[in-house]
């Protein structure tokens, strides 16, 4: 059995970190992703845009206490892609062990 290809959208440290955070919560705001990943504001913003363009996350912009607030959540497509990615990873690890 060959190796399943790894989704290039998810096979990136920060995008994978963001997706891993969002699959565990209903929705997470920009500051949560910023604090949890420890990445820079600009980098998080760029990767969020890429995930959004891929249809993996939904980005809602709203106001909270008169300040703009960005909230992200995983879409059904994103969840499916994440699960496929984890499955592919397990395939790699299983073949390496075997």
């Amino acid at each position: 059995m060959g190796f399943a290809p790894l989704d290039p959208i998810l096979h990136n440290q920060l995008r994978l970190a963001i997706m891993s955070l969002l699959v565990s919560v209903e929705e997470g705001d920009f500051n949560f992703l910023l604090e949890s990943t420890g990445a820079t504001r600009g980098n998080v913003s760029v990767q969020i845009t890429k995930l959004k363009e891929a249809g993996y996350i939904l980005v809602k912009k709203r106001f909270r206490n008169n300040y703009p607030n960005t909230v992200c959540s995983v879409t059904a497509k994103g969840l499916k892609a994440f699960e496929a990615y984890v499955l592919a990873l397990k395939g790699y690890l299983g073949q390496q062990a075997g």
Partner: protein, 195 residues
Amino acid sequence: MEQSLTPQESLKLIESMIGQARRNFNRMSFYFLLWGFLLISAMVVTYLLRDSVSGWQHGAAWGMAGILGGLISAVRGARDGRKELVNNPMDTTIGWLWSAFVITMILLIAFSVRSGVDPTIVITILTGLPTFITGQAMRFRPLMLGGVLFWIAGVAMLFVPDALGVLVIYCASMVFGYILPGILLKRHEDGLRTA
């Protein structure tokens, strides 16, 4: 940051991020401390006034504690809600669990009053349920033990002949079931925030 990851690194990253998100419970210690002190106060006032009031007045201290606690909790909840960075499904479930508990408790108190039965025992036993499940959901053992303690305290009250005994057991169950776990939870939450 377009750096390449090995499969092992990817899985490790996924595990650590999921763990971090799941640990992100909303702050709950405040509510345990608030209700612990309020309910002890109501119990003590009710005990002290037991011979000097009659009828509905027996429940006045509980009613006032309930209204005061409900108002403070609502204000605090609304304030915290505006500050939350993440909406965890477990937070939502725990919120519904406590809402269901309050509704059940009000109904049980109404039935007890109508039947002329003191609701303290049944409410104490019922309190063990959400406390235990919240502790389990948060993987926070002091709260789980607090829940068990409420169950034990409720049963113990059945075997105590006088009001003073019930007062002592009730206050002890609140101290060890709500207040002490609340203090430990606060330390735990403060630690998470500064980590």
